[in-house]
Structures are given as C-alpha cells and as structure tokens.
C-alpha cells in the first residue's frame, strides 16, 4: 500500500504560498457580494425603473439566468410528435436531377443552352460563371414509378424506392448559400457564418436528455465518403450555448469517443476517486466565481465516467443477428462505414438519444457525375432504406423523425464538357430535394414542385429556416420562443424567419 491517503482530507488552500491568493479571493468575494449584490439591489429599489431602464427588473447578475429558466420551464410549447431525430446529412450537395426530381422534358433539350428566361440572371459560382455555354443535360439514369402514389425515383436508389411509401419528399427546398461551408453552416445553425449553435445543441438545450448515460447529441461521420469537402467540428458545436449541449462525435476505431478510456494501468476505482476529488476542487472554484461553465465541466466529467460503460455497450454489434447485417448491407460489418453508422444510429435511437446526426461526404460532383453519384448512391442507398425499415418494424418510427438531405442541389446545365455519357453539375441553391420520414410527417407524399428544368420552384417553396422551424415544431418547440441571450441579443435557430411547413404535417 503506497501512501495515497493524504488526498482524502478536505482540500484547502491553507499552504502559506496561497495566503496572498486567499486574501485576494476573500476581498473579491466581499466586493462582489456586497457592492454588486446589496448595493445594486438598493440602487435599483431607490431609483425605481427610471435609472435602470424601463422595465422593472432585478439588478442582480443572474437576471438573464432566470429568464432562461423561465423559457425552459415553458417547454415544450406544443405536444411533440417526435421524441428523437436522426439526420442523414449528405454533405456536398447531392444532385436532385439524378435522384428524386424527375424531369423527362430535359431529354429533348439535351445540349441546348439554359434559357435566360429560366436563369433570370441568377448568380453562378466562380467555377461555372465563365463557361461559354451552359448546356442542359438530363439525368443519365432512368426513373421508375414506385409505391402507392407511383412516385418517380431514380434507378440509382432501388432500396429507397422500396420504402417510398414511408417518405415525405420535399422537392422545393431552397437555400441562400452557394458554397459548401456557408451552406452547411446555414443548415446546421441557421446562419451562414460560424459561431451559432447547431440544431442538435438547440434541442439539447431546449428539451434536455432522455438518457443520462449518453450524450443528447451524437455525431457519426462515414469513413467511406469521399472527403472532397471538409467537415468541421463546429458544425455540431454548441456556439454560445453552455458547452454540455455540443454534439459528441463517435469514431469507429478502438476508441469510439476519444480520450474516454482510462490510461493503461489505471482502473475504474482510481478514476472514480480522482473524479470525486476533482469535482470537490471544481465546486470550490464554483463557489468563488459562480461560473456556469464550471458546472458544465463537472457534469461532463461525470457523463464521461458513465460513458466508459455505456459507450462500449452501445457500440457493440455482437448481439445483432445476421439478418440485420443483411438488411443494412455488407458494409455494415465494417465499422465507420455509412451502413455501420446507420445501424449504430438505430441502436442509439433505441437508447433514447435525442439527436443523432450522420454525415456522408462526397456528393460534390462537378465532373464525372454519372460515375460519382452512382458510387455515392451505392454506398448509402441500402443502409438508408434499411434504417427506415428497421425503425419501422421496431415501432420506433412512431416517435422518431428521419431526415435525409444535403446543403443544396445541383445545376441543370453541365459544368465542364458535356459528352454522351459524362458531365458535371455545379452548385444550385435555388431548388433541391430532401426527404423526411416518421413521427409527425405525412408518409408517401411529395411536397413542392420545380419547373421543367429543376431550376426554379413553382409551388410551395421551403426555405432552410422553414425546415428548421418545422423540425423544432415536431419536437414540440415553437421556433420563435426558444431563444438564448448572448452579447445583448436574443438568438434563435431560425434567426428572424422561418414558417412551419404545414403541408407536410400529419
């Protein structure tokens, strides 16, 4: 037994070296508590509302905190339809023309220049703005009708086509951003510039957790998507919300969550003792400064400790029968692939994780689109459909919302040289397709329409903020009322816009 009992004493800064610090802390404490506390209170009472602004409000520093509490107490604003969300983010901008938005008239227009009457002077990216011609090109792949409503779906998505009766396909999405990073940031945070909280963080902040052993917001990035456009951790960041609401990325290697496991030769009991002691230290710190981030840090250490058991358990697919791997496709046995992540997502949803977000990169086909998109679809189609099927048969689609989509669509004209069997497509934010399935959305419908060129929306446009407002609505949140005050302003996911898309709600 080595001597390690000394640290069971109560921790005190009573070392002579700390005397000066102690004095300073005491003085600061005194000044904060008296001058700011009592002083401000008395002043506030003395001068009433004239000096302190119009609305009578307490002059103590936790005024914003109280207001946040009040906002949270009022939640949920509506009876929620969905309890969990899985968002399959197709990063890069999948072409709507080769997947869901069937435009047969283009076959006869192949090679013709995009009419100005259609383009209407809309801006193009720097990549194709200088092209001498903008030749239109139909889908290289055939479309067939599927499901009860005879929905047209591309031959690239045979598995998705089989579950079309569960999908609510929105063909009239539009965004404001024309480049990847601003467009993804816009989708995730409601603003093109980085710094605001991601959708999952807002949900965690607004609704809290349903499983105290796992994070509320979990992110899985496929390893088999072509990494042509980068993803940044800030896309699932908490922005200005308390940091416990940030998305936690699960990897596929030996350590699914980095830095979670104990170092070699260090066992769980040691860990527990260390954490309890650390938490005492943190509480001392917190009693002095009252910083909510200290609370967040304590909570995170405790969560990490619980995750040391819960994560290996949820990551293990050893108990899954062979039939499940067959459903999700051969990739599903290879951890870190999109298919394996879909299977993992189902397991996380079963554990009541509130928001699971998958990212699959590689949808940015500026050139060689026919071969590129075929490979992308092959890597994702079966597992996506399997996730729907699996959730449905387990009864989880009752209260789970599944979302599939990218950050924008692609142009009807070819970027680069158009040949009989090869072309590319540039970024197109004016219309693209997403789909949702499950809790609260109408199954088996298509919503919104684009023109014959899949260039402009002709019916029921759905803006990114509208999508976000609808998502929050399905979770029981009024997007106009979930706010967080930061730097003197109240922020929302939908900023100052967003309309709920009533047409897709059950």
């Amino acid at each position: 037994m080595v001597d390690h009992h000394h640290h069971e004493e109560e921790f005190r800064l009573n070392d002579p070296e700390f005397n000066r610090l102690n004095q300073r802390l005491d003085r600061r404490n005194f000044l904060t508590k008296t001058s700011m506390g009592i002083g401000a209170l008395a002043l506030g009472a003395l001068f009433g509302n004239k000096l302190m602004g119009n609305a009578p409000r307490p002059a103590v520093s936790n005024a914003t905190g109280d207001m946040e509490q009040e906002i949270l107490r009022a939640l949920p604003h509506f009876a929620p339809k969905a309890k969990r969300v899985v968002y399959l983010f197709m990063s890069g901008g999948p072409s709507q023309l080769e997947t869901f938005d069937y435009k047969p008239a283009l076959v006869n227009l192949m090679g013709q220049n995009l009419p100005d009457s259609v383009r209407k002077g809309q801006r193009l990216t720097g990549m194709s703005a200088n092209q001498s011609a903008l030749p239109m090109v139909p889908s290289y792949y055939k479309f067939n009708q599927h499901g009860q409503n005879q929905t047209w779906i591309s031959e690239l998505l045979p598995y998705t086509a089989k579950v079309v009766d569960d999908l609510c396909i929105v063909k009239s999405m539009h965004s404001e951003a024309i480049n990847h990073d601003p467009a993804i940031t816009f989708f995730q945070t409601g603003n093109q510039l980085p710094g605001r909280p991601s959708i999952g963080s807002w949900l965690s902040y607004g609704l809290g957790s349903d499983n105290e052993n796992l994070p509320t917001f979990i992110v899985l990035v496929s390893k088999n998507g072509q990494k042509d456009q980068p993803l940044y951790a800030r896309l699932w960041g908490n922005g200005f919300l308390p940091s416990k609401h940030q998305g936690v990325q699960f990897g596929s290697g030996k350590d699914p969550v980095l830095f979670l496991n104990n170092p070699d030769g260090y066992d769980g009991a040691d860990r527990k003792e260390m954490l309890e002691y650390l938490s005492k230290l943190n509480q001392i710190q917190n009693s002095t400064y009252g910083d909510p981030e200290v609370d967040a840090r304590i909570a995170q250490y405790e969560m990490a400790y619980r995750m040391q058991t819960s994560v290996p358990e949820v990551m293990s697919v050893a108990d899954e029968p062979e039939e499940v791997f067959e459903l999700y496709g051969p990739d599903s046995k290879d951890p870190g692939t999109y298919a394996a992540n879909c299977l993992l997502a189902r397991k996380l949803l079963e554990k009541d994780v509130k928001f699971v977000q998958l990212y699959h990169q590689g949808w940015d086909q500026h050139g060689s689109l026919p071969s590129g998109i075929a490979a992308q679809c092959k890597a994702t189609d079966q597992a996506t459909a399997a996730l729907i099927t699996d959730l449905k048969r387990r009864g989880l689609l009752e209260d789970t919302l599944v979302i599939w989509g990218g950050e924008f669509g692609r142009t009807v004209y070819s970027q680069g040289k158009l040949t009989a069997n090869d072309y590319g497509r540039d970024h197109h934010p004016r219309c693209f397709t997403m789909w949702m399935a499950g809790a609260g959305v109408k199954p088996g419908i298509s919503f919104g329409e684009t023109d014959d060129f899949s260039y402009n929306i002709v019916k029921d446009p759905v803006h990114v903020h509208d999508f976000q407002a609808t998502l929050l609505h399905l979770m029981g949140i009024d997007h106009e009322r979930l706010t967080y005050k930061f730097q003197g302003r109240r922020f929302r996911l939908t900023d100052v816009e967003g309309k709920i898309v009533k047409g897709i709600l059950t």
Partner: protein, 446 residues
Amino acid sequence: MIVLDIFTFSGRLHPLIVHLPIGFILLATLFNVLSYLQKYRYLRQAVPLILFIGFMAAVLACVFGYVLSLSGDYDADTLSHHKFSGITLAIICGLLYFSSTSMFKEYLRVGDKLFSALLLGLVVLMSYSGHQGASLTHGNDYLTFRTLMQQEREKPATVEQAMLFEDVVQPILQKKCVQCHRDGKQKGELSLESLTALKKGGKSGQAVVSGKPDMSELFKRITLDEGHKDFMPADGKPPLTKNEVKLITWWIKEGKTEGGKTISEIKNTASLKPMVALYLGIGGATEPEDDAGEVAQMINPDLPLVVDTTHITSLRKKGVRVRMMLNKPVMLDITLPPKSGIKMADVKPEMLRLAKNIVWLNFSDNELTDQQLDFLPALTNLEKLRLDKNPVTDQLSDYLVSLKHIEAVNLNETKITDATTLKLKKNPSIQRVYSWKTKVDEVKVN
C-alpha cells in the same frame, strides 16, 4: 430626474411613517384615560411628551403624504378628505400638546374632562382619516359594510353552471382592469366595477354596445396593437390573454352584454364552452392559452389541465423517466428504462394517480406479465403504448379494448398470437399494432 425619484421613494414611505402618530396618539389617549384610576395616576405626566412626539410624527407623515399625493393616480375626493383630515389631525394634536404646557396654562386652563374628550375626538378623527387613506390605497370597496354582507361566489363545477358575466367576464375585468377603473379611481371617467357602471361608459364613449363589439370602446381598446397609445391595459400592465379577449368579445356580441345568466340558459354556446372551460380551468376542450404560433393542434379534450407534481417527483425518485409532453393540458410520457428492475407494484400507485395524464407509455424490456399490467384500463387517455420485449400474452389485449384514444401498440417480441390482433381490431381507435418476432402471422395483420 434623480431628485424626483427620491421624492417618489420617500413618498412611498408615507404608509409606513403614518403609523407612528397613530401609535403615539392612541398611547396618549390610553394613558390619559387610565390616569383617572388611582393606580395609574402617574401616567398623566407622560401624556404631554407622548403627544409632542405624536405631533412631530404627524407632521412628518403629512409631509411624506403630500409628496406621495403629487404622484397623482388618486381619486380627488377621497384624497382631499384624507389630506385635510390628516393636516387637521396634526394641528389639533399640536394644539393639545400646547395646551398642556405650563406656558399656555398661565393664560387658559383646559379642564381635565375637556382635555380627555378632545383626545377621544382626536382618535375619532384619526380613524376617519385612516379609513380615507386606506381607501386610497386599497380601493373604496376595500372595507365597507357591503364587504361584511357580501359572499364570495363559489367556483362553478361545470361549464353549464357558470354564469357568463358573474363567473367569467367580471373576474377578467376585476383582474385586469379594475385596478384603475373603479368607483374610487375612475381613470377616463370609467368604472368597470359593476355591470351598471360598465354600461354607463366613460369619457371616450360607451364601453359596451350590446351585439356590436366594433362600437364598444372596451373591445376596441383591448384589441388594439399592443404598441398603440390607446391600448388597454395601459402602462405595460399585463394584457388580456387571447382567450380572455375572445370571452369578452363573445359576451358583447352573442351574450348581448347581459348579466345573471348561466351558460346553460344561453343559446348557441358551442364555441363559447371550450373558452369558458379553459378560463375556469375545468377540463374539456382546450387550446393553448398563449399565442401558440402558427399551427393549431388537435388535443384530446379529456386531458386534465393540471397534475399533482408530487407523484411525478416520486416516480422520478424511483428511477422512472417522466417527460412533460405538454404543460397545459398536462400530457406525460412515461418510460421505464430497459431492464430497470423496478417492481410494478412500487410504481403503480403513482401511475394510477397520474392515469389520465399519461399519453405515451414505454415499458419495453422489463419482464412484465399480464397481471402486473392490470391497471392499463385506467389510463384512458393513452395514445402510444410500448410493451415490446416483455413476456405478455394474449390476455393483455383485454386491457386495451376499452381505451378510446390508443393509436399504436408495440407488442414486438412478446408471447402474443393472432388472438391478440383479432381482439385489438375491435377497438377502432387502434391504428397500428407491432407484432414483429411474435407468433402473429404477419401477412394476416397487414
């Protein structure tokens, strides 16, 4: 501005200071009266000093009272009564003190009996002045003989029994308007304290015109844009809720601004009843009281509007997850964590207490048998039920047949057979039954 605020501040101290002279004058009178008894004779000597202190306090109270009166907002008549009686009181108090000094006594002697009588008179005057002051603060009807006689209206038990004006409209006006528009303090020369006063109207015209909300000043003012200068309640006081506005509108338009009628005596009240139910907090059809955004929801009208949260806390302590799905009416989503080891008997009492609030219920993977679930028929508002991965059998379906709102039942990986699906078909509200990995023939279910 700061000077003015210090005035306001000290003015508001008047109600505090004013009790000092009251105490001293009462004490002086008490001592004076007691001193007629041989035993307390010596108290007489203290009376002049107490009167002097009382006089000083009365002067101070008058000064603060005057400052307070400058802030306005008071009924002029009552105020002037209070002011003059208060000042008179201070002067008389001072004179009485003066009359007991040796200097005064050289000129004129006031007899003992007369002095006592004057002191008692002072107490009467003080009571009058005090009453006027209290009426200013609390309203003219705060302490009247009518208050003694009046009976509190009991809260009606059903919507039908409620009286439209007395139980609904009047309480709204009482809560949101009467603070400024009352008999004593008639802002805009309008009082909303009684139906008669209400019908008289105010400076801007008729408050209510039977059947014509557009011509009723009351309706106009409460429906203006909140930023409008004529919007009521003014000065940022809490506005009427949407439901309250609707109720008043209905009363003017359809209710013909009448009083004394119960809802059951009025015709065509289909649209009125849910509003009244919501306002009175009696169950029944409801809609979110606040501005709930753009989408109206269909919500089961049988759901209770309230819940006893002690049962929720108790369940949570036992490890059961209780999620609030909606605050009004109260919808609960209850989950037993998988393999929780929680005994059903331990949580059953709370479940039964919360029975009508439970909308979603998840008992998945908890080794539950049919008998342990015998309380399910009490959960009359249940919409979604998950019992997957439990050893339940066909007997369970008996508990589900009577549930009127149940939409989806998850019986995956249980011991059910086709008998369950057949029985559940008898309940028309059930739309989806999950029976994956059971003996149920899947083709037949579809």
